[in-house]
């Protein structure tokens, strides 16, 4: 029970962090058809900017400034980069963001060094909030949860209650029609791209000190965010939300349960020895497969239901 509750909370924290990254990507992907490889790079940039800013003027201002810088970078990428490439098709756009991701990783390495930077949780939040069956729950995780819940609420309100939100929603499904009605769709694109990048930057600010801030963090996070977006389905923020929490929980729970297929077979009276065929596959414990599960799910869902969980159209 105690393991279950603690893992549930940790899974929620991780899932919400994933959602902050994935929500921006899902909007970009659904509207513009661009699978943005540089999205996780914005997450990394957010963490590094926050680290540098927090060295000089503190974490709380970094929480606001770093995402804003990321948003500006995103707007610049969309206006001067993607829009140019757009006429060459989706593949070219995707490759453009892929190249950007390479460049950003290298630039980060050259600016902040090859090893992880000591980006720490602010002292104000560095205390255990409550104790659950003898396990401390850090206040910072609660803070992360609060920030991401707040963001979820804000995106939801912005998309459903504001005029620009309605246009964004309409552009998700009928971009040509929205353009025909006289709305400036390219500007909406820039706005969404900048907003999505800023959200990824914010995720970096609060996630960078929870995980580690290092040059490879974009390439470890990137594929998982793709999995979430594709799993949740195009054009569906709710699907993205469910998929994020699901992936977060799966990965957290997989670490906790130390079972393997051999243990499962033992329940049916089959014992696995080293001479059994595929013994190595059968005896791999679940925590080691944990990182693989998202990709297994990705391949499965694309085979069975290419539009994802709640998607409105095929990927």
């Amino acid at each position: 029970m105690e393991v279950f509750l603690v893992s549930l909370l940790n899974g929620l924290v991780y899932g919400m962090l994933l959602f902050m990254l994935a929500s921006g990507l899902t909007l970009i992907f659904s509207m513009m058809g661009v699978l943005n490889f540089a999205h996780a790079s914005a997450y990394m940039l957010g963490a590094y900017f926050a680290y540098t800013i927090s060295l000089f003027i503190g974490f709380w201002l970094a929480l606001i400034i770093a995402p804003l810088i990321c948003g500006l970078i995103g707007a610049a990428i969309e206006m001067w980069g993607l829009r140019r490439v757009h006429k060459n098709g989706h593949i070219a756009e995707l490759l453009f963001t892929f190249g950007l991701a390479l460049i950003i990783e290298k630039v980060v390495q050259m600016t902040w060094g090859l090893i992880a930077v000591p980006y720490r949780v602010p002292a104000l939040l560095d205390f255990p909030l409550f104790t659950l069956y003898g396990t401390n729950f850090p206040a910072y995780r609660a803070f992360m949860l609060a920030i991401s819940a707040l963001m979820f609420g804000a995106i939801w309100l912005a998309l459903t209650r504001t005029r620009i939100g309605l246009i964004v929603q309409a552009s998700l499904t009928y971009p040509e029609m929205v353009s025909a009605l006289g709305h400036n769709v390219p500007r909406v694109f820039t706005l969404v791209f900048a907003g999505g990048t800023a959200l990824a930057g914010l995720a970096g600010v609060i996630g960078g000190n929870y995980h580690t801030t290092e040059p490879s963090m974009a390439f470890t996070m990137g594929p998982i965010v793709f999995v979430v977006v594709v799993f949740g389905g195009l054009g569906s923020l709710i699907g993205c939300f469910i998929a994020s929490l699901f992936m977060g929980l799966i990965q957290t729970f997989a670490v906790v349960f130390d079972y393997s297929l051999a243990d499962l077979l033992r329940q049916f009276g089959l014992t696995v020895t080293s001479s059994t065929p595929f013994a190595e596959v059968l005896t791999v414990p679940l925590p080691r497969i944990g990182a693989l599960l998202p990709y297994v799910l990705l391949v499965l869902i694309l085979l069975v239901r290419p539009r994802g969980l709640l998607g409105t159209r095929d990927t």
Binding site: G33, L35, G81, R84, V85, N88, H90, I91, A92, L94, L95, F96, F98, G99, L100, L102, I103, E105, K106, V107, Q109, M110, T111, W112, G113, L114, F219, P223, F226, V227, V230, E280, V281, V284, R288, I289, A291, L292, Y295, V296, L298, V299, L302, L303, P306, D314, T315
Partner: protein
């Protein structure tokens, strides 16, 4: 084609009224014979190139050059096999390295069995082992991945790539974990009696296999399957309507490309005698993607050019600079933005002007663009190198020298300001020159168009 000629439409009638352009078949055969000369030239260059770097006083080959040339050979096969999916079938794969790497692993195990005497395969035919295992894994992964196309296909291959890469670290029995699988190419079993202990023997083995694979892949584009792959790439609905199953076309194309990726993997195992987790990992897939795209996805030969460039950058620049991946990334982004058809596309663009005989008129404008272009590139490289020196190089105890003479201290402000200023000026200048170049280019291509219509 036959239908179109049988029912002449208005455009055909209108064209008939005008004087006919040069007869097509003759032109085609001229191109064909020229490309045969290019093949011969490529073979001659590949065979003779190591001897240019042969050290006659010690009687030794340059090991560095031989390995680099061998790498170019096998990566050419790898990139061409990638282009079988991307260029010809429109299937963007993010996990092509799994076919390469699994082929390499299987080859390493096969070589070890040959050495132990459990298996008889002459070293000349060992690449076939890699090819067949690539074929087998291609059939397995292709069965899963080719159910979808376009972005969904890309995502499935991304997932499969990550799965195999993770599995390579997890299952030590087959993959050998972090250390990889070591092997020995000197098995003592050979058709030609060569021992393959010297790297020049391995190089010629790779040359032969690269040639065989390239010819086969070139011929494959002429087969009905190759043509159908193009058809399903351009309009899969129409191909389906005619009665072909686009899924099966994608599948066969994937499997065949798996075979050649496996051959490349096998050559990798033979060359380096160790196969590690790197061979299946995402950076390897990315290398194929970069090489293919920079070279040009449109034609058959693009990936070869791209591979040569990437491997030269990889082995040449990576020795000189910490930041070589940054240069590759910038080159890639510039290509995507300004030359989406790659180097080959850039060359092909000159075709009409060259045929109109006005190519010489471009030399002047080219020279004018060259100066600001080179200045911009040089200052950009200087800026990058200074930055990488400040963060990475200085710790390694190197000092920053330009051309071995001019000593620069990147920890002061002056060189930064000077380099930035020169870069900015060169960029603006380049922009102006590029505009002037564009005007000349437009003029010449207009002229070429007019000449093409009335010869």
């Amino acid at each position: 084609m036959t239908i179109e000629t049988a029912q002449p439409d208005t455009a055909n009638i209108a064209r008939r009224a005008e004087p006919q352009p040069a007869p097509k078949p003759m032109f085609r055969s001229r191109v064909k014979s020229r490309s045969q000369w290019l093949w011969l030239l490529a073979v001659v260059v590949a065979v003779s190139l190591p001897w240019l770097f042969f050290n006659w006083s010690t009687g030794r080959h340059s090991g560095f050059v031989l390995i680099m040339l061998s790498e170019i050979g096998l990566m050419t096969i790898f990139a061409l096999s990638f282009n079988m999916q991307m260029g010809q079938s429109g299937l963007l794969s993010f996990g092509h390295a799994i076919l390469f790497g699994l082929g390499a692993y299987c080859t390493a195990h096969a070589l070890n069995s040959v050495k132990a005497g459990n298996l008889w395969v002459p070293t000349e035919l060992v690449p076939l082992v890699g090819g067949l295992s690539g074929l087998m894994f291609g059939a397995f992964f292709g069965f899963i991945a080719t159910k979808q196309r376009a972005t969904a296909f890309a995502m499935i291959t991304l997932g499969l790539g990550e799965l195999v890469a993770a599995a390579a670290l997890m299952f030590t029995g087959f993959f050998g974990g972090e250390g990889g699988i070591s092997t020995n190419r000197v098995t003592g079993v050979s058709l030609l009696g060569a021992s393959y202990s010297a790297s020049w023997q391995v190089y010629y083995l790779i040359v032969v296999w690269t040639l065989i694979s390239t010819v086969l892949m070139r011929l494959q584009t002429e087969t009905p399957l190759g043509r159908l792959a193009n058809a399903t790439r351009d309009n899969f609905e129409r191909a389906e309507f005619i009665g072909y199953d686009p899924r099966m076309v994608r599948f066969y194309q994937y499997v065949l490309s798996g075979f050649f990726a496996g051959v490349a993997g096998a050559l990798y195992a033979i060359l380096y005698e160790i196969v590690t987790f790197d061979t299946v990992s995402a950076p390897k897939s990315a290398t194929a993607l970069l090489a293919t795209y920079i070279g040009g996805v449109g034609g058959f030969y693009g990936p070869i050019l791209g591979t040569i460039l990437i491997v030269l950058l990889q082995s040449g620049v990576s020795l000189l600079s910490n930041a070589w991946l940054l240069y590759v990334g910038v080159l890639f982004v510039v290509m995507v933005m300004f030359a989406p058809n790659g180097i080959l596309g850039l060359i092909a663009m000159h075709g009409p002007i060259a045929r109109s005989g006005r190519i010489a008129a471009l030399i002047g404008p080219y020279l004018r663009v060259l100066l600001p272009g080179l200045t911009a590139v040089a200052t950009f490289v200087l800026l990058v190198e200074m930055a990488s020196f400040v963060t990475i190089g200085a710790e390694q105890g190197k000092s920053f020298k330009l051309g071995g003479i001019l000593h620069i201290d990147p920890f002061t402000v002056l060189p930064w300001m000077a380099a930035t200023a020169v870069f900015a000026i060169a960029a603006v200048w380049l922009r102006l020159e590029a505009r002037a170049f564009g005007r000349v280019w437009d003029e010449l291509s207009e002229e070429a168009k007019r000449l093409g219509q009335t010869p």
